[in-house]
Subunit: 223 residues, 2 copies
């Protein structure tokens, strides 16, 4: 198989492979085998080959994968050929940390705008960006290509999501611990920090080994 629909599980691992490839490129490695890539990404070698086969045939039998070529291919597939603007709504502790997160820029994302509803915060600057009033976020705002990040209290999260969608946003990362609903064509992912701790709490108090890793598709130590 080659360029058909890429499974969700595979999409979730492509950024991990990309990270590993960037490291390999920086140390001057020209090629990498599925076995090496698997070791570095913390997954099974068969899984790596299966995942990459969904993108096409970019390896060479007997040799491996060209690091630079594969890096470019995965980048394009993920839509990282050009930098993407990120709009952050809610500038509490987490929102401010995200606004200044170095990793975003390193991975091709640029903080383009900040919004909050607190009149005390609106107009002030955070890391060089003036905080705008959430009331100004709506159909008139052109944000078609941006990714929206919700870092508000849960009670207003749905309202914020609606505003982002009205502004044309088609991808939302929600940190508010609540279920929000968006139209089918909008991509949504949720990150709930307390939920992560609660899941860990479950595996920690069990006697058996913590298969929390399995849930994330991460392999156990093979050293």
């Amino acid at each position: 198989m080659s360029t058909r629909r890429i499974p969700d599980a595979t999409v979730g691992r492509l950024p991990v492979y990309l990270r590993v490839l960037l490291e390999l490129a920086s140390t001057g490695e020209a090629t990498v085998s599925s076995e090496q890539l698997a070791e570095l990404a913390g997954v099974n070698a068969a899984k790596v080959r299966k995942d990459l086969s969904h993108l096409g045939s970019y390896g060479t039998r007997g040799v491996g994968y060209d690091v630079e070529y594969l890096r470019f291919e995965i980048s394009s597939r993920l839509g990282l050929a050009h930098e993407s603007p990120v709009v952050i709504v809610g500038l509490g502790n987490l929102g401010r940390a995200l606004a200044n997160h170095a990793g975003f820029r390193e991975r091709g994302f640029i903080v383009a705008a900040l919004y909050d509803s607190d009149v005390e915060k609106v107009g002030t600057e955070v890391y060089g960006h003036v905080i705008r009033d959430i009331a100004d976020l709506g159909p008139a705002t052109q944000l078609d290509i941006a990714i929206g990040v919700i870092a508000t209290p849960p009670v207003v999260a749905q309202n914020v999501a609606d505003r982002l969608v009205a502004a044309g946003v088609r991808a939302i990362l929600n940190f508010a611990p609540t279920v929000i609903s968006v139209p089918e064509e909008v991509a949504l992912r949720n990150v709930d920090l307390s939920l992560e701790l609660q899941i860990l709490s479950f595996y920690q108090q069990r006697e058996e080994p913590g298969s929390a890793e399995v849930a994330l598709g991460v392999e156990h130590d093979r050293r």
Copy 2:
């Protein structure tokens, strides 16, 4: 079936059900049907019943589930009967936001200690906690019941993980964008903020509707 091994996918949804049950309890609801719970948790009703059946038979046919009873059951199963200490290593933007995250305390987690390697930071206070030297984190530190949070740069993450494990930590939440390995008996979960944006970038640039939600087990809008 009743009290056998709980599937990983189910464990990942229990905190969501718990959150919904807490809301229902606060509005005075005494019982809830799988249909209602499903709607509020953003999942399928059959999935709710299947998930809850792994805990035991806590519902009443024709009636539904007792909100308070179910809340208590899920809490105990997740090991949330008592508060758990959290140790945060790395106090950059993200680490500090986590140290002051109100949601942690609300969900039964207490920040117990902070560690960093920066001599400028060691000894200073962050939200009432003195930052300790990471060099002092090791076998002598008794952290058996704590959950370790890694919010350091990726290069030192493995070293930090090893120190946490040596100190007795059996559950780790890793925010550093790198693969770390831990002994089989230690539960590990990874949260990579840039990775989330990269996944969203993939679904955003596709023409078809964003099934990023599917990947998280979250349902589409049914309004």
